[in-house]
Symmetry: C2
Subunit: 265 residues, 2 copies
């Protein structure tokens, strides 16, 4: 695995002393994705796990649904480029996507509402249940695994878990990238995402929620806060949101009946 932190020389001021020291900073690199030879997007990312990122990004955008949609993948680390060849049917979708992007201003306008409509119309069905102790146990494991965050304070982490353990773990400077890497890794390695749950270090915004719900994820847990819109949408989509999962505490915002925890009146 390529290291995504680097040592640089900085000046540290502490109280009345000021000294030159070596400090670790997180790497940020432009990564340009080409779909069947055509430039698609440039993402700013941590410069590792690019294959997972590329596959996951295209899956999140709805272009790729399964590993069979991919004909080949080629990552050029030196130039920061990723080339993916997809099947003809997928390419047709890409063209439709490009068209929508134009009308809706960067894929965030009309598409946002389109996606919302389709997701809220069909609330997630899932028999998923978990014990609150297990959530806190895996949250601790997740924090321990976030080595880059500990070294630099500059990255986000995301993990896919089942009822008993963490299955996949990725870090990136972007919380969306970290989630896309998890999705891409799962897709490439045929790990079923549907019905599994997510741990994230970042805030739970509507966009993170929507990205997860599209993959059939019944629960998102964060050590940080959700937004009001994410909470409202999660209620409609039947997704459990847990925030501020730290130490021995957590806040359950939606669909609490999936989590068994001690009840006081």
């Amino acid at each position: 695995m390529i290291s995504s932190t680097e040592k640089i020389s900085i000046i540290r001021l502490q109280g009345d002393t000021c000294e030159k020291i070596e400090d670790e900073v997180t790497v940020e690199k432009p990564f340009t994705i080409y779909v069947n030879g055509e430039e698609f997007i440039t993402l700013l990312c941590s410069g590792n796990g690019e294959e997972h990122l590329m596959v996951g990004f295209l899956a999140s955008e709805g272009l790729i649904k399964k590993v069979e949609d991919i004909k080949s993948v080629n990552i050029e680390h030196e130039t920061g480029r990723g080339y993916i060849e997809v099947s003809e049917g997928v390419l047709m979708k890409k063209k439709a996507h490009g068209k929508r992007t134009l009308t809706s201003g960067c894929g965030k306008g009309t598409i946002f509402y389109d996606v919302l409509d389709s997701l809220t119309a069909k609330p997630l069905e899932s028999a998923f249940k978990i014990d609150s102790d297990k959530i806190l146990e895996l949250s601790r494991e997740f924090n321990d695994a976030s080595v880059e965050f500990k070294a630099t304070g500059g990255v986000h982490a995301c993990a896919l878990c089942d009822e008993s353990e963490m299955l996949l773990f990725h870090e990136d400077i972007g919380r969306h990238n970290a989630l896309d890497k998890v999705i891409g890794n799962a897709l490439k390695n045929k790990i079923e995402i549907k019905g599994k749950w997510l741990l994230t270090s970042g805030r739970i915004s509507s966009e993170i929620l929507i990205k997860a719900a599209k993959q059939g994820i019944p629960m998102i847990v964060s050590r940080s806060a959700p937004t009001k819109l994410a909470v409202e949408l999660a209620e409609q989509m039947n997704v459990t949101i847990v925030g501020f999962a730290r130490g021995r505490r957590m806040n359950i915002y939606t669909v609490a009946d999936r989590i068994s925890c001690p009840v006081s009146e």
Copy 2:
């Protein structure tokens, strides 16, 4: 000012107790910008300061340069829409922009490199100097002002400062939005941004750096971390980056000679 936090009912688990409580969460709202009647983009934001956000976003995108470029502004709070009428010359630029967006995948591809080239070609000239004590003093003031962050843990803050005080302060769920609100407010109220410095609660990524450098800002201070790419670009653009400004400490990453601080050998 419209409150951008709301109280909701949640379940809090703490140790062995589990109880229903009221908790504050930060608001997140889609806000769609229409330029001369045409849909431009939908941003997800905190649902306040939309006028500043709209003007600042278009300034950051390079469409608006001065208040005279704006013919009228109209915010519809109920529908989450903002209508801005710009002069004919600005509209021509918007059309060119739309075209580039199409070729470069969501404005993040070719444009990223174009912007970089023009910024690194002309390093910022600025005689800006400041004392390290003043940075830490205004950082404390900045933290005290971040009331929404304290209430919800879910927002970012950004402030424009001069050598002696904080001039503008905005919060938003997005660190880019918070900066755009500052830029929009300054532009609308004819406050010169060039030569002033920024405080931000968020990480300093290349995109935040570029957005600030485009406005002629010589220094960005954060309580969080910068990325390696931001540090490299700041060096080339002659912008001072200060990270982890907390309590009585800070890390100076680039162009340290603007900051007078106690020197040990």
